[in-house]
């Protein structure tokens, strides 16, 4: 194996470092990007990247790739496993249509030039399961975000307005779950589901506790900012999937006012497409994307991701258990549910997005509207895998954002309902290649708080993708098929300096790092010990047996804040 790489004559786009399609060389040693002088005297492998696009490896900041939800999805949907992606040979057998096996997840990301992915909802008591699956995904770096928004400890400390204890609890929970940051799913709404209900506004009272979603969100932002965690609060809003919900989303985004952070946003609102509906029923539902985009664009401390639906099969799986039940009632499809101790819940329902279905077409159009109308520095490209569809279609979304012509072609094939219910047909914005690279690399890395990811500056992780696309020549407005094809399979994917993919084929297997954030040094864990000991009587496991030890993980990396 070569310790050093010299990527020669590539056309580099590196938004974080202000490199806009410049012909330049990149040097790699010991898994990092280095100066040319560093590789002198090394056994250097030269990669000729002439006329090719060289960018940082893709960063997926929100996907459901590991844990009890996706695995229940696999169990419930054997029909998903008939697509054979790799026959066991040097590499593992890999199968799956949209739901993939763990090896297939790693392989498909790598083939697409993606090198990091974050599991977006880790049930805290199931943390060990999540980590077992993360450890079974080859090729990429990863992490998991435990869910806090319906955890009784959160309710209790928010109710008591005790931010110090809330901070301590967050630090304790991140350490125990080996989690990366604070995920919040339908705060209060999942607790209401335990009684058969949901919350309908930011000011509903959570059953059994004197708290509201508004208080939960603002308290968690405050605690997260005071702890200075890498990533901000990562919020799945209330009222997901309900016509008229865009107003709640706008109101929620504004809760970030009054908080600030020099390095990143203070609130990341996720898969916003599912929370961007106007109207009061599915009969008159319309897009609320414009209002949301206006709000996000007017603020400097909020980011979002798209949650773009892809026509075809998908599986809805979220910690938003009441929404999943609503979806089951709506579609009559299979439904799995998991109420989880005193922590929250989850649900799983198969879905299929059909272009001729007015609601599905509306959802598809709204996702794209968000991607086009929100500043490229504030919106990350996601499908909320597998909720909106496969991550393997990110290249489709990239190409669509860059080409009005491609959108026009697609619009001709979808339900005409989108013509009156959305503004997509009128939007002439075409994102540049540089913007789309930012939305899939440097932006998600910044949003997550990973300074070594998403760029090609000296000292960055040598996670690199090379695509068969010359940015100096390509006309992204018209050559959308070429763009799509180029991003679909990388010419080279390099992870931590190792060549994993060449000409779209796997050539090497690699086991990435699992990041977790340790904030315990900033708090006094003793302060919440009596509370934990007392309230654990409502758990079905002992406090001493709760959580995940670092030595049980394959390649953990502790980030101390």
């Amino acid at each position: 194996m070569h310790h050093a790489l010299h990527i020669k004559n590539g056309i580099v786009i590196d938004p974080k470092n202000g490199v806009k399609a410049e012909k330049m060389d990149i040097f790699v040693k010991d898994g990092k990007i280095v100066e040319e002088s560093e590789i002198k005297g090394e056994d250097v492998k030269v990669i000729d990247a002439s006329n090719k696009l060289v960018v940082a490896g893709g960063v997926d900041m929100h996907a459901h790739i590991a844990g009890s939800k996706i695995n229940t999805g696999r169990t419930m949907r054997p029909e998903e496993m008939r697509v054979v992606r790799n026959i066991a040979n040097k590499f593992r057998a890999a199968v799956g249509r949209v739901l993939l096996t763990s090896p297939a997840i790693g392989y498909e990301y790598a083939k697409m030039g993606y090198t990091s992915s974050f599991e977006a909802a880790q049930p805290p008591i199931g943390a060990l399961h999540t980590h077992e699956e993360l450890d079974a995904i080859p090729m990429i770096d990863k992490a998991a975000l435990p869910v806090f928004g319906n955890w009784h400890f959160t309710f209790k400390y928010v109710e008591a307005k005790d931010i110090e204890k809330l901070k301590t609890f967050i630090a304790w929970a991140l350490e125990r779950t080996k989690g990366f940051g604070v995920k919040v799913v339908n705060p209060g709404g999942v607790e209401a589901w335990m009684y058969g209900g949901n919350v309908t506004s930011l000011d509903d009272q959570v059953p059994g506790f004197n708290v509201t979603p508004r208080e939960i969100i603002t308290s968690l932002i405050k605690a997260t900012e005071e702890l200075k965690l890498n990533h901000s609060v990562h919020l799945h809003c209330n009222r997901l999937g309900v016509p008229g919900n865009y107003e709640t989303t706008v109101e929620t985004i504004k809760l970030a006012k009054g908080f600030s952070n020099d390095a990143r946003q203070v609130l990341h609102v996720t898969h916003v497409q599912f929370n961007a509906y106007a109207g009061d029923s599915w009969r008159n539902a319309a897009s609320g994307a414009e209002e949301i985009a206006k709000t996000v664009n007017s603020m400097d401390n909020v980011t979002i991701d798209m949650g773009q639906p892809i026509f075809g099969h998908a599986t809805a799986m979220t910690g938003d258990a009441p929404f999943q039940f609503t979806l089951h009632r709506l579609t009559g499809s299979r439904w799995s549910n998991k109420d989880s101790e005193v922590e929250g819940g989850a649900g799983i329902v198969p879905i299929v997005y059909l272009p001729k279905n007015p609601v599905h077409a509306l959802q598809w159009a709204i996702g794209l509207e968000l991607g086009l109308l929100v500043d490229s520095d504030k919106v990350v490209l996601t499908t909320d895998y597998p909720n909106g569809g496969p991550f393997t279609e990110y290249p489709y979304v990239m190409a669509m954002l860059m080409s009005r012509k491609m959108r026009e072609g697609e619009l001709a094939n979808v339900s005409p309902y989108v013509q009156k219910a959305t503004n997509l047909p009128a939007i002439d914005t075409e994102k540049t290649l540089e913007e789309v690279i930012h939305m899939t690399r440097s932006l998600p890395a910044r949003v997550l708080g990973l300074p070594q990811k998403g760029h090609l500056g000296i000292g960055a992780d040598a996670d690199i993708a090379i695509y068969n696309l010359n940015p100096l020549e390509v006309d992204t407005s018209n050559d959308f098929e070429k763009v799509y094809k180029a991003f679909k399979t990388a010419e080279y994917t390099i992870k931590s300096g190792r060549i994993l993919v060449k000409n779209g084929e796997l050539v090497d297997e690699y086991w990435g790092t699992t990041y977790w954030v340790d904030a315990t040094g900033k708090v006094d864990l003793e302060a919440i010990k009596p509370d934990l000991e007392d309230y654990f009587k409502y758990y079905s496991v002992e406090l001493q047996n709760y959580g995940v030890e670092e030595r049980w993980l394959r390649r953990p990396e502790r980030i101390v804040v």
Binding site: A66, S68, I70, N71, T72, R74, T75, M76, R77, P78, E80, M81, V84, N86, I87, A88, N89, R92, A93, V95, G96, T101, S102, P103, I125, G126, A127, L128, H129, E132, E133, A136, W193, M194, Y195, G196, F325, H328, R329, R334, W335, S336, N337, K338, D339, S340, E341, V342, G345, I348, V349, K537, Y538, S540, V541, E542, Q544, N545, E549, W552
Partner: protein, 421 residues
């Protein structure tokens, strides 16, 4: 090591994690009868053996690798009583060998998995049930004998957040005979064997407002009684149906569970209900979850084409053996010689068999290569999934010369890879 330590029980699917174990005296506390029998000194397989002759671990593993590599289609079966780390290696090994992976669920709770494929699994953790369930229905399940501490810890007399004690919880048992659990119940409903499906259908009809369609008696239960049960279910704040092998292994099998899941779907239109299987072995859930993430399916998986295929009527161990469709077998943490149908065991006797197990059993008698292993939870650590899929890391509290299942399989996989080149 400390004298008395916390241990996590590795007997049944309850995986109680509040046990204490005196390492010096080899004595457990706070365990049920089943658990304490596992955590006591038992007869062990003394050493690795080839054809009855004692050999070293290395020799036995070498021989096992040869058998597996020379087989056209080996069956790798068992897995329910070992840890996920070993199961994962087993799945990878089976894939490499292009064999068949199957696990104990295929002869007990697999019909429940088929029902998940049809209708999903609207469930909750045992902690959710303990905290919230004011009505618990045991259907074809007898935890007082099969999961002795389940009732106390999670479901019958467990003290929870909203349901403070036994008095605030109504326990119903539906079974074909008065079981030990039935004696503790507030209500026992005895049904005729094989009538689970029609009884569930009757409940669905009553709850959906079609009581007229229900005859005066269904499966040995009067309509009056069924209406009463339906009312109890509808009026619950949070109910739980916990079903056992009485449902999955009687007439109707997966259809019974499917019907029960539909009942739960319906009930959730009125109030909150969950349903969950009472899984048997301590990590039978892991034996399904691990292959699900590694290769997409829970059991009955064939790799002969180099990729996984799932077909329960074709690739479950009993079917493969009955057809004579495997030419070697690795049996781990299980005893098919004692539990499988005669026709299946007959084929097992004909082919080379490798056994990995801490304890001797009927399968030991027909195994060509026997590899004893450490007891997970006492002598080896690893991850196990409780019946509700909550992961727990079982502990190593005693040193041993026995290799763990994980160590044995790691070495075996390494040998197989070497032999296959």
């Amino acid at each position: 090591m400390e004298e008395t330590v916390n241990v996590i029980c590795t007997f049944c699917g309850s995986v109680c994690d509040d046990g204490l174990f005196d390492v010096e005296k080899f004595k457990s506390k706070r365990f049920c009868k089943l658990g304490s029998s596992k955590f006591s000194k038992k007869e062990r397989i003394k050493a690795p053996m080839i054809d009855g002759k004692e050999v070293s671990y290395e020799e036995a593993i070498e021989k096992a690798a040869e058998i597996l590599v020379n087989a056209k289609r080996p069956l790798l079966y068992g897995w329910a009583s070992t840890v996920n780390e070993a199961i994962r290696l087993g799945v990878i090994l089976t894939e490499k060998l292009r064999g068949v992976y199957d696990q104990c669920a295929s002869v007990c709770h697999a019909p429940g998995t088929l029902a998940v494929i049809e209708e999903g699994l609207p469930g909750g953790t045992l902690g959710a049930i303990k905290n919230r369930a004011d009505v618990v229905v045991f259907w074809g399940a007898n935890p007082m004998e099969a999961h002795p501490r389940h009732g106390m810890r999670y479901s019958i007399s467990a003290k929870g957040l909203l349901v403070k004690d036994r008095k605030q919880r109504k326990v119903v048992v539906v079974d074909v005979r008065p079981t030990k659990t039935a004696k503790l119940a507030d209500e026992f409903i005895q049904i005729k064997p094989g009538y689970d499906y029609p009884v569930i259908s009757a409940l669905r009809a009553i709850i959906s407002g079609n009581a007229d369609a229900v005859p005066d008696e269904v499966g040995g239960v009067s309509k009056e009684k069924l209406v009463e049960l339906a009312e109890t279910m509808k009026n619950a704040r949070y109910g739980a149906v916990l079903y056992g092998l009485g449902v999955t292994q009687s007439r109707g099998r997966d259809r019974n569970v499917e019907n029960a899941v539909k009942l739960i779907q319906l009930l959730n239109r009125h109030t909150r209900w969950v349903i969950w299987p009472m899984r048997g072995h301590y990590n039978v859930v892991g034996a399904g979850e691990v292959p699900a993430w590694e290769v997409g399916y829970q059991y009955a998986i064939d790799f002969s084409r180099g990729y996984p295929r799932f077909s329960p009527a074709e690739f479950s161990a009993v079917e493969v053996l009955k057809r004579g469709d495997c030419d070697a077998a690795l049996i781990i943490a299980s005893d098919p010689a004692a539990h499988f149908p005669r026709a299946a065991v007959k084929h097992l006797k004909k082919i080379p068999v490798i056994q990995i197990d801490p304890f001797p059993n009927m399968t030991t008698l027909l195994a060509n290569v026997v590899i004893p292993s450490a007891v997970a939870g006492i002598e080896a650590e690893g991850t196990a999934y409780r019946m509700d899929a909550i992961p727990l890391r079982v502990k190593k509290v005693i040193d041993t010369n026995y290799w763990s299942d994980e160590q044995i399989l790691e070495k075996l996989l390494e040998k197989v890879e070497k032999l296959m080149g």
